[in-house]
């Protein structure tokens, strides 16, 4: 049974200039112990997706329709109090800017202990502290830095502390939203390894959100490509990476240089993402797509199943996608 099933989720924000449709018709499922990565450019809605699953939308955000079924229960039906108990205990989050994700006036250990104690109120403070020690060991942080304040940590250390905190209540699912974006490549590599280890060792499901497809391909079993609030391609890592079908996916992959293989031209994707307050009625990628036809611009795209685990949201694919 899948741990998380998202069915036809639509989310939007009410802004000064109108209603912004951040997500539309998102559907996917995630098995326990597996990892799933969402890739896309800024503004495609991937962060919103993470927030929506945890129901951490800001006051001007609305979940229009759909279902988020976690461990058999629809999270959208839960009350605030029930959600509060689910958060961190069952689903934890690693944020985009760890730089400021820790409260500067409290010690790191206390912030983690707080997470533990909130969800296990009967636990002894000392025991919680011991757990923090274990967590620090797990993520590779020196024990003598437990009682420090966040500003005394380096960027990489802060990120590890955030990961430690996310693991504190033994969640079943961790949503990692661009956890390595602000770090330099060496630390980035270390953190990614860390996440992979944790995932396999503790058998935790991970949703990894990034704009960098190479990172996602490294860490995740499945990849979902997002564009303009929609999921445009979804499949196993090998399928998406080796056999990208959607024009956007292919363009995305070819805009990254490779270390091995022959030198090929980098091809940036021309144009801009569409305005999500008034999204186009047809395929949202059509005005940037090299393969676009009339049908693409006029009609809503539909899901085409290329393989049992590989599907794509496109008019053209399946018939003949240019190679």
């Amino acid at each position: 049974m899948a741990l998380l099933v998202v069915d036809n989720l639509s989310v939007g924000y009410q802004g000064q200039k109108g209603y912004l449709q951040a997500l539309e018709g998102i559907s996917f499922s995630l098995e326990a112990g597996k990892s799933l990565g969402f890739v896309g450019e800024s503004g495609c809605g991937k962060t919103t997706l993470g927030m929506a699953v945890m129901r951490l939308m800001p006051s001007n955000g609305f979940i229009r329709n759909g279902r988020i079924i976690f461990d058999g229960e629809d999270l959208l039906e839960k009350t605030d109090e029930e959600m509060r108990r689910i958060r961190w205990q069952k689903i934890a989050m690693i944020f985009q800017s760890a730089m400021n994700a820790l409260n500067p006036v409290h010690r790191v250990c206390n912030q983690i202990v707080e997470a533990i104690v909130t969800h296990s109120p009967l636990i002894d403070k000392k025991e919680a502290y011991e757990q923090v020690r274990d967590l620090f060991q797990l993520v590779g942080l020196p024990e003598n830095r437990i009682r420090d304040y966040p500003h005394q940590y380096s960027g990489g250390m802060k990120q590890r502390a955030i990961i430690a905190m996310a693991l504190a209540c033994n969640p079943q699912l961790i949503i990692a939203d661009e956890p390595t974006t602000a770090l330099d490549v060496i630390v980035q590599d270390q953190i990614l390894d860390e996440i992979k280890n944790i995932q396999t060792e503790l058998n935790i499901s991970v949703i990894y959100i990034s704009h960098d497809i190479s990172i996602v391909a490294d860490v995740c079993h499945h990849i979902g490509v997002m564009y303009a609030g929609q999921l445009v391609e979804y499949g196993a890592r090998e399928e998406v990476f080796n056999n990208p079908m959607h024009p956007y996916t292919r363009a995305l992959l070819s805009s990254y240089p490779t270390l091995t293989g022959e030198k090929s031209h980098l091809m940036p994707i021309p144009g801009e993402a569409p305005n999500l307050i008034n999204p186009p009625s047809g395929c949202r990628f059509s005005d940037r797509c090299a393969e676009a036809r009339e049908t693409c611009r006029r009609n809503h795209s539909v899901w085409l199943e290329l393989a049992p685990t590989h599907k794509v949201l496109c008019h053209q694919c399946g018939k003949n996608c240019g190679q």
């Binding site: 951490l56 509060r84 958060r87 961190w88 944020f95 400021n100 006036v105 969800h119």
Partner: protein, 289 residues
């Protein structure tokens, strides 16, 4: 320098003044005298009281500190507390009334507010004494214990404290309110929500300690302004403190006393700034470590 002496003094007093302060000597000599006097604690004799100045201001200092410190601490704490509440209820009645209240009270003219309070609560209602720090009978009577004397002082302190409090808490409220609204947008607040912490804990334990920091800074910045208010309050309520002594001595041309009072007030302001700085460093770990 001798030309600057108040023309209203009689020739004898003027001569005395000139001699005492060496005003007929060249400027650099006067300055040396001044320094010598200053550092040997020789502040002279008060013209008016006929006592050593040090003794007088020594008597007055605790009274000022008592009133001043209590009023600042009270207005800061209440301002922070109410500002927090106002930010939680942003846009609702509680917020509008608190903000409006803060706005109105902190633009009131302090001496006038003091007079109004005296008129209503002391004169008309008779709840509080009109002037002074302690009733004469209570002070003089040797049989009355320290506790009763203390209570009597508190009784006298209510109105001056209320005046200072009403004038000052408003600005702290407004600063705390906007600081809270800013702090609530910070990333670590989102972390707190994701952690499943109850709203109350997030606001009180995570947001408020961070939001209170700018208020502490503001207390420090407005100390000079607060001291002005303190002097005015002491004068209207005849509270025997240094501020009042300064005003009194200036209007009676009691130069030694005026000078010493002013100096002491300046020191009080500087020390208070120091205290506030230390407090801020204590509250913000980013400064401590």
């Amino acid at each position: 320098m001798s030309r600057m002496v108040d023309p209203n003094l009689t020739p004898e007093d003027a001569a005395l003044l000139i001699q005492e302060f060496g005003l007929d000597q060249p400027i650099w000599m006067q300055y040396l005298y001044y320094l010598k006097n200053f550092f040997t604690g020789h502040f002279g004799f008060s013209f008016h009281y006929g006592q050593p100045v040090v003794q007088i201001i020594g008597d007055r200092l605790p009274n000022t500190i008592m009133l001043f410190t209590t009023s600042i601490i009270l207005s800061a704490l209440v301002g922070i507390f109410l500002g927090k509440i106002a930010s939680w209820n942003k846009g609702k009645k509680m917020d509008t009334s608190l903000t409006l209240g803060a706005l109105v009270t902190h633009t009131l003219f302090l001496p006038w507010l003091a007079l109004i309070l005296i008129w209503v609560f002391a004169y008309k209602m008779g709840w509080f004494p009109i002037t002074g720090m302690i009733s004469d009978e209570v002070w003089i009577d040797p049989e009355i214990g320290l506790w009763t004397k203390g209570l009597d002082i508190l009784h006298h302190m209510v109105l001056p404290l209320a005046t200072l409090f009403l004038i000052h808490f408003g600005s702290y409220l407004l600063i705390m309110r906007s600081s809270m609204l800013d702090t609530l947008k910070e990333d670590y607040i989102l972390t707190g929500r994701a952690k499943g912490l109850p709203e109350k804990v997030i606001r009180n334990h995570h947001a408020a300690p961070n939001a209170a920091l700018p208020v502490v800074t503001s207390v420090g910045l407005s100390l000079a302004f607060s001291i002005n208010g303190g002097a005015l309050t002491e004068t209207v309520f005849t509270w025997p403190g240094i501020g009042r002594e300064l005003v009194f001595s200036v209007s009676h041309n009691d130069y030694p006393l005026a000078q010493a009072s002013f100096l002491l007030i300046a020191i009080v302001v500087l020390l208070s700034n120091l205290v506030v700085d230390i407090l801020y460093a204590y509250l913000d770990p980013r400064i401590r470590y």
